[in-house]
Amino acid sequence: MSGTAAKATGAGDAPFLIGDSMTGGYGKGPDILHDCTIAVNPGEIAVIVGPNGAGKSTAMKAVFGMLDVRQGSVRLDGEDITRLSPQDRVVKGMGFVPQTNNIFTSMSVEENLEMGAFIRRDDIAATMEQVYDLFPILREKRKQAAGELSGGQRQQVAVGRALMTRPKVLMLDEPTAGVSPIVMDELFDRIIEVSRTGIPILMVEQNARQALEIADKGYVLVQGRNAFTGTGKDLLADPEVRKSFLGG
């Protein structure tokens, strides 16, 4: 990982996905994000951390088009997608895993994956195989209703579902929320594996320390603004960040 971290520091050239100086909020409500910038490149894991209510999820939702970006823009692979609906962004190649309600509980694991690939008209068998290789437990439980699985397995279904479109970028909103520490470590391992396939990953995390450990790039948000930005290592080493967010 230390190799990829070095690459991430070169933030000068245009990133693959960037939410550039975004300012905005929900509906007609007040601005939650203020001039907030978040970007990610292929092979990277970018993590958004910060205290509660800092606008972490909001920043990610802004990138995905779930709230109004009043100033700034979102660009995917050089193309301005600021005005596209979330659905259109999925078609453009963005995979999004919401924090809650991110699986079809009454449907089997296999059906969940099939529904993930709904926009595809070609043969999805190979992609499904890849997802099963990535998450072997899902292959075992593929006929079982997704709602009957454990928290960690559900998250794997959720990530698997998003991978079925063969996205160009994967966005995860607190993938480890509500799972045990052991499961959390396993999920992080899986996420690193997904990232090794070359897909850029942007994720919001509550567990700042663990997340920054696997992050190539970290964004610390405070009240909707970029407070600190750097590689995961740098942020972990930064005394200011340690003092305020990581408990010393």
Binding site: P86, I103, F104, T105, E111, E114, M115, F118
Partner: protein, 336 residues
């Protein structure tokens, strides 16, 4: 012999009618439950949708009868059924385009849609009465009985007869085919699965690129088919009278809720639970009791728990019990 007679009497007056009625309720409840699961409101216009589909079928049946087209021993209505379904599809899609879509775009609350559906109910009710009249209509033809009571007695030598009406058998056969098709569609096809996904988790379905307008349209198509089939079968088995279909709304909703709203399997189970309760509670058990019980304790009266005039009370009471003790229904449905 007495025991056999009791079983035959029971079959004749309870089992066969309840199975037929249960199938009709199940088909009706399936429509209600699909709309609840996918469009997320209780459609009060469902009884009148059934009446509308049945009416078109009846009109086409009459035309076919006058033109000399028939199915021999089977009722001509079966031949007219596809036309009835088409008419009902047109009606529902038009209603959706003109009325429901407006409220969907407003993201109206389910309770508002319920009131809207009541408005639709009154209008459909009016249209049906305006076209075909408020009275009883006869459209059944073909062979009336598969086995008549007299034939049965001659065949078995029992003193009780078992009459099996063609309409009962057709009801069950058609209901089984319709349900099998529906489940195949929902569980095996891409569109069917997308409907289940949309019903399960609307937001995630949108994120997966499922087009809600298409899901809604397919739902109306299926509901039109189910409602028309249910309406025609009920009309063949009993008789067609617009007001009866309006009244059917209660047992149909009771079936859907007892089974668990939004759950197709529950709707079917609920249909039979309601039908069997209604028939057994309103049946005069004197005859069966006299066969089975020794003379000393055989009942003097009719041994009828409730007059048939009060049969709707049965659905009502079951509905209340379920809502009080198991609001999500027998199968895991959505809480009302």
């Amino acid at each position: 012999m007495d025991f056999l007679n009791a079983i035959v009497a029971l079959s004749n007056f309870v089992l066969v009618p309840a199975i037929a009625y249960g199938s009709q309720l199940a088909l009706g409840a399936l429509g209600v439950t699909l709309i609840y699961g996918i469009l997320r409101f209780s459609n009060f216009a469902h009884g009148d949708t059934m009446a509308f589909g049945a009416m078109i079928t009846i009109l086409v049946t009459w035309w076919m009868q006058s033109a000399g087209i028939n199915l021999g021993p089977l009722p001509t209505a079966l031949l007219a059924l596809p036309f009835g379904i088409l008419g009902c599809v047109a009606m529902l899609l038009l209603t959706d385009r003109l009325i429901y879509r407006f409220y969907r775009e407003q993201k109206a609350k389910p309770v508002i849609l319920v009131i809207v559906s009541m408005g639709v109910m009154f209008i459909m009710n009016g249209i049906v009465r305006f076209i075909i009249g408020p009275n009883d209509q006869r459209f059944a033809d073909g062979e009336r009985f598969l086995i008549s009571a007299r034939e049965f007695k001659a065949m078995t030598g029992l003193s009780e007869g078992l009459a099996i009406r063609t309409s009962s058998v057709i009801t069950v056969v058609v209901a089984v085919i319709a349900v099998a098709l529906l489940f195949w569609f929902l569980n095996r096809t891409r569109t069917g699965k997308s409907m289940r996904a949309y019903s399960d988790n609307e937001d995630l379905a949108l994120l997966s690129g499922i087009n809600p307008e298409r899901v809604v349209m397919v739902t109306w198509l299926i509901v039109a088919a189910l409602a028309t089939v249910a309406g025609v079968l009920y009309g063949l088995d009993k008789s067609f009278k617009p007001f009866t279909y309006f009244q059917l709304l209660l047992p149909i909703f009771a079936s859907a809720i007892v089974g668990g709203l939004g759950n197709p399997l529950g709707a079917i189970t609920g249909g039979f639970v309601i039908a069997f309760s209604e028939v057994t509670i309103t049946y005069a058990w004197k005859k069966v009791a006299n066969y089975v019980l020794p003379e000393s304790i055989a009942p003097d009266g009719l041994a009828q728990l409730l007059s048939t005039d009060y049969k709707f009370a049965v659905s009502f009471v079951i509905l209340l019990i379920v809502l009080l003790f198991k609001p999500t229904g027998l199968f895991k449905g959505k809480a009302v």
